[in-house]
């Protein structure tokens, strides 16, 4: 955190100082080598220009950081170099020596800064005088060579002193421990290579995991080695990603200077406050956001912050404020630039858009204030009353938005008239490896980046006819009351169309705040994919952002969601604004968005939209009933379904629904709330909510669309109906304790390693008597689950299981068997056994433990292969 103002001495920001030290020492090292080469008779080409650039940077930075001696010395050296560069006069050995000793002196200054945070009392005046003399000599030589000699004689005597001083300081510096011992400089090319290699490794790992799964090798060593490989690869990937991370502060370092210079030019006074400079982001993205951020700062200076007299007249402090803040938020990096300037006037923006011919008068008047603000992102929109040389450069916010979105980010805007403007960039952390949804269309696989994904909708052939509407040639789907434009991927890509009878899969995607539905043939798994750039000849095709190698070795093209929208001719500027307004509200207090639904026998309820992971519609037939619990296969795992009427006074639903709407929540594991109908998403003002004390499952009551609506407490309902889910959250650090009954020593040995690898604390029992003793015993041991062999030699396996279930209703009990006896399975499950698991299927065992909440979900990067779509 730092602050600096253009009026006084800047308080030095450690980050900037460190950077200055690194840069300068590097440059001096470079220059020294060049000078040595030059003295040896083979100067590098462009020596003077190259040195000039380095010294010029040093001068600028030291000036900005108020290291006056360094700046002064660098300045004179720069003048001398400029003279050589411009005149083409080759320096002689005397000049090389002089430059060399100036570099030594500069280095000792920088070394002092490194060790003491200050330049120290190094005398630069003597060296400055000598350099000036050299410069004067050169200028004179151009006219008259005779003047050089006496100048030389005078200055030469002073040199040893300066050098002596430099040596002393350097000696003092070397006594200090060098703080950079813990870091190593690595060539970026090596990092890029590493990144590519880890990409390949991830692919190889994916193939390996898939092979092992398909082969179903019962050898436990293969499986656990494979799992180990999988985990290590994920960790390795994460670590290598980290090596590419750079502090976002690198983008900010130029800002204080920029603001100072602009402030002077425009007679504006501004305090810059920079925060979160150490927030890290992928190297490639640091470059991608540099220009947009600087442009936004220029805009703020130019259009936002007023001149001091205007500010004072409007009751503001004469000195404006500009805050720049970077932070991590939900897997994204947010960069916020806010000023306390004049803000944006929707009325003026509308008028301007009409004047520029971007909108008709009528259309402009129809825009809400919020939508009017979004006008600044339109191409060809520039708000400055007169075009200034600061930001009126023919590029505007539309370019900022394009750049940011191209890098996978989003731009958000907030502005209050006379209060100020805030612009937020939300960027992904990295670009190289991303989670993506794999889909199939026209017989080919494509990957859609998860970051663009909002939800998946499946319509069966009956629904297709009614839910998809044609409006003047464009196709729309009515998604919770909103018209979602549909784009058929197969027709955009000119691939074969699939007959409609098979139903329609809609992938709802978003670019920034625009959304549309991408219709594909099939929806497959999500996978971590490695983005491989396309050859230049394919880059012209706007609908792909790259390609990736899949687990099976095939290649999938990565769909560029923005490109596809452009090709489909979707323009949703008005809609975009409405969406932005909605997103905006989520982040503020005050009115909140709620999902309104009817449940039970028709009572209306609502839950906060912010809590909802997804809204889904599943076939009622796909709901499975196990031991009084309803579950459904959902996105590769089992999702528990809860019915609100079980705890709320709603009456029982009529069982007539073919399609069961679900509201999906994510409590570490997904939980689906079964409802009758999702009515709408509405805004509820907390002031209008009547609190209810008597019902523990409702937070309050309000009236929505004329109907009394219960605001339900999902957390309380889940805690009541499926306590394991909540328990799992609390005990996440504890290893689950599992009791396992198996008579075979070999099986026990095989499982021991496997389960412990999964973080399970397993205790083995060899007889049903031991199990009963353990569970009935007075030791008061807590068990998270029992896995018990059904076919024991003693013949009492089934009886034991039933007894245990009877006595321990809260204990998840699993039957563990080699046999395939459906009747027995049904009987046991009816008597409280959670699941019937084949001894050959260890993955199923883990899955069952996860479903029961015994084992926490595995890491996201672990691959799921046998995934069936919920829809």
């Amino acid at each position: 955190m730092s602050s600096s103002e253009n009026t006084g001495t800047p308080e030095r920001d450690q980050e900037t100082v460190d950077l200055f030290i690194d840069e300068s020492l590097e440059a001096l090292q470079r220059i020294e080598q060049w000078l040595l080469d030059a003295e040896a008779g083979h100067p590098p080409p462009d020596l003077m220009a190259m040195m000039f650039r380095d010294i010029h940077t040093m001068k600028g930075t030291s000036g900005f950081l108020a290291f006056e001696r360094t700046q002064k010395l660098a300045h004179v050296v720069e003048d001398l170099l400029a003279r050589f560069r411009d005149s083409g006069t080759p320096p002689d050995t005397h000049h090389y020596a002089r430059l060399m000793s100036s570099m030594d002196l500069l280095r000792s200054l920088v070394q002092n800064v490194k060790t003491t945070q200050d330049e120290g009392a190094v005398d630069v005046e003597a060296m400055v005088a000598q350099l000036r003399a050299d410069l004067a000599g050169l200028l004179n030589r151009a006219e008259d060579d005779s003047n050089v000699a006496p100048q030389e004689a005078v200055t030469e005597t002073a040199a040893p002193e300066a050098l002596h001083e430099a040596t002393v300081v350097e000696a003092a510096a070397s006594n200090n421990v060098d703080s950079s011992d813990g870091t190593v400089r690595v060539n970026v090319a090596v990092l890029d290579r590493l990144m590519n290699l880890i990409g390949e490794l991830v692919l190889a790992r994916n193939q390996m995991v898939q092979t092992v799964k398909t082969v179903r090798d019962p050898n436990v060593n293969t499986q656990s080695a494979c799992q180990r490989l999988s985990l290590v690869t994920s960790d390795l990937q994460e670590q290598i990603m980290k090596t590419r991370m750079q502090p976002v502060g690198r983008v900010f370092e130029k800002i204080p200077r920029l603001v100072r210079d602009l402030g002077r030019q425009m007679n504006k006074q501004v305090n810059v406050h920079v925060d979160g400079t150490s927030t890290e982001i992928d190297k490639a993205l640091v470059e991608a956001i540099r220009d947009p951020v600087l442009h936004i700062v220029r805009n703020a200076m130019d259009h936002g912050i007023e001149t001091p007299d205007v500010r004072v007249r409007t009751g503001k402090a004469a000195i404006g404020k500009l805050n720049i803040r970077a932070s991590h938020e939900g897997g994204m990096v947010t960069i916020e630039v806010s000023d306390d300037g004049r803000g944006m006037d929707p009325v003026a923006l509308r008028a301007h858009a009409v004047k520029k011919g971007l909108l008709s008068d009528v259309a402009a008047q129809r825009l809400s204030d919020r939508e009017a603000l979004d006008l600044i992102f339109r191409p060809g929109f520039s708000t400055a009353a007169q075009v200034t040389d600061i930001s009126g450069r023919g590029v505007g916010m539309d370019v900022v938005r394009t750049h940011v979105e191209r890098a996978g980010g989003q731009v958000e805007l907030e502005s209050v008239l006379n209060k100020g403007t805030t612009i937020r960039l939300k960027m992904p952390l990295t670009l190289a490896i991303i989670p993506a949804l794999l889909v199939r269309t026209g017989g080919q696989q494509f990957a859609i980046p998860q970051v663009n994904l909002l939800e998946l909708v499946y319509l069966n052939e009956d629904q297709v006819g009614t839910a998809i509407e044609n409006v003047r040639g464009a196709t729309f789907y009515r998604l919770r009351g909103e018209m979602l434009p549909l784009v058929y991927l197969s027709s955009i890509l000119q691939l074969s169309q699939r007959p409609l009878e098979q139903g329609t899969n809609i992938v709802v995607v978003a670019v920034g705040s625009r959304r549309y539905g991408l219709v594909v043939d099939e929806i497959h798994d999500t996978e971590e994919i490695v983005i491989k750039p396309l050859h230049s000849q394919l880059k012209r095709v706007a609908c792909y952002s790259g390609a990736t190698v899949l687990g099976d070795g095939g290649v999938a093209l990565i769909v560029e969601v923005a490109g596809v929208a452009a090709m489909a001719g979707i323009d949703m500027s008005g809609r975009r604004a409405a969406e932005a307004a909605r997103a905006d509200q989520d982040t503020r207090h005050g009115p909140q968005q709620y999902v309104v639904f009817s449940a039970g026998d028709g009572g209306q309820c609502a839950v906060p939209l912010a809590m909802v992971a997804r809204l889904e519609q599943i076939a009622s037939a796909s709901i499975e009933h196990t031991v009084g619990a309803e579950v459904v296969q959902y996105r590769g795992s089992i999702m528990r379904i809860l019915r609100p009427e079980a705890v709320l006074p709603l009456g029982t639903a009529e069982q007539a629904l073919d399609e069961q709407p679900l509201i999906v929540f994510d409590f570490g594991q997904k939980i689906g709330l079964a409802v009758n109908r999702i009515v709408d998403v509405v805004e509820i003002d907390p002031e209008q909510v009547q609190m209810l004390g008597e019902n523990p499952f409702a937070q309050g009551r309000t009236v929505i669309m004329g109907v009394t609506t219960l605001l339900i407490d999902v957390y309380a309902i889940v805690r009541e109906l499926a306590p394991h889910f909540i328990k799992e959250r609390r005990q996440v650090t504890q290893r689950p304790r599992v009791l396992l009954l198996d008579e075979s020593a070999a099986m026990r040995a095989a499982l021991a390693g496997f389960l412990r690898n999964e973080g399970i604390d397993v205790t083995f029992a060899t007889s049903s008597a031991a199990v009963l003793q353990e569970l009935r015993g007075q030791q008061n041991q807590h068990w998270d689950a029992l896995i018990a062999d059904v076919d024991l030699q003693s013949g009492d396996g089934i009886a034991t299981l039933e007894a245990v279930c009877e006595e321990n209703r809260d204990l998840p009990v699993f039957a563990w068997t080699f046999c395939d006896d459906h009747d027995l399975e049904e009987r046991l499950c009816a008597n409280g056994v959670r699941d019937w698991i084949s001894k050959l299927d260890r993955e199923r065992l883990l899955e069952a433990l996860q479903t029961a909440g015994v084992l926490s979900r595995r890491r996201k990067t672990d691959l799921k292969t046998d995934v069936r779509s919920a829809a």
């Binding site: 990409g199 390949e200 692919l203 190889a204 026209g442 080919q444 890509l493 000119q494 691939l495 491989k532 396309l534 050859h535 230049s536 000849q537 394919l538 095709v541 609908c543 792909y544 390609a547 990736t548 190698v549 070795g553 095939g554 290649v555 999938a556 093209l557």
Partner: protein, 169 residues
């Protein structure tokens, strides 16, 4: 096919050339530009790509376009139903694979024997032929690898009437 006179070799610089056949013409590439040679591979088609890009090739995790050289060079499609071969080339834009009719020998040709392509070469081919080298009773055409990545600007507009008859579409 190594029929070059040894006397010529000793007196002038020579280089190794990888050759291949396309539409009965012999083409040559510097061996350094060829990473590997292989049989036809499964390719992933790229919808909306230029016609001559027949798909993407996954070569041990590296993804590269496969260019059908016949289409790229405006030759007629093949009709003999024989298996094609793939050459993986190193270009300034990274690896590119090209589909050719058949792989030929590696030849050692003296550098001095190369000459500018004849004026009579059809315009749509001329971009892709960097030089020609006569050997025995036929001519080796040197493929301009970098031209494969160039845009195909208005070639059709300047198709010359006079051209090598064997290379006409």
């Amino acid at each position: 096919m190594n029929t070059v006179n040894p006397a010529t070799l000793s007196t002038s610089e020579s280089a190794m050339w990888a050759t291949f056949y396309l539409n009965n013409e012999m083409f040559a590439l510097r061996v350094e530009d060829v990473q590997e040679v292989m049989m036809a591979q499964p390719l992933t088609p790229v919808p909306l790509a230029p016609q001559y890009i027949v798909g993407l090739l996954n070569l041990r995790g590296q993804i590269m376009p496969a260019i059908d050289l016949r289409r790229r060079l405006h030759f007629a499609a093949r009709n003999d139903h024989q298996d094609s071969n793939l050459l993986v080339l190193k270009t300034r834009d990274g690896l590119v694979s090209v589909v050719v009719d058949q792989i030929g020998d590696v030849l050692e040709l003296p550098r001095d024997d190369w000459r500018a392509p004849p004026e009579t070469l059809a315009a749509q081919h001329r971009n892709f032929v960097a030089a020609v080298c006569p050997i025995e009773n036929h001519v080796v055409l040197r493929l301009n690898v970098d031209a494969l990545s160039d845009d195909d600007h208005s070639l059709t507009a300047s198709i010359s009437a006079s051209s090598l008859s064997s290379t006409q579409e």
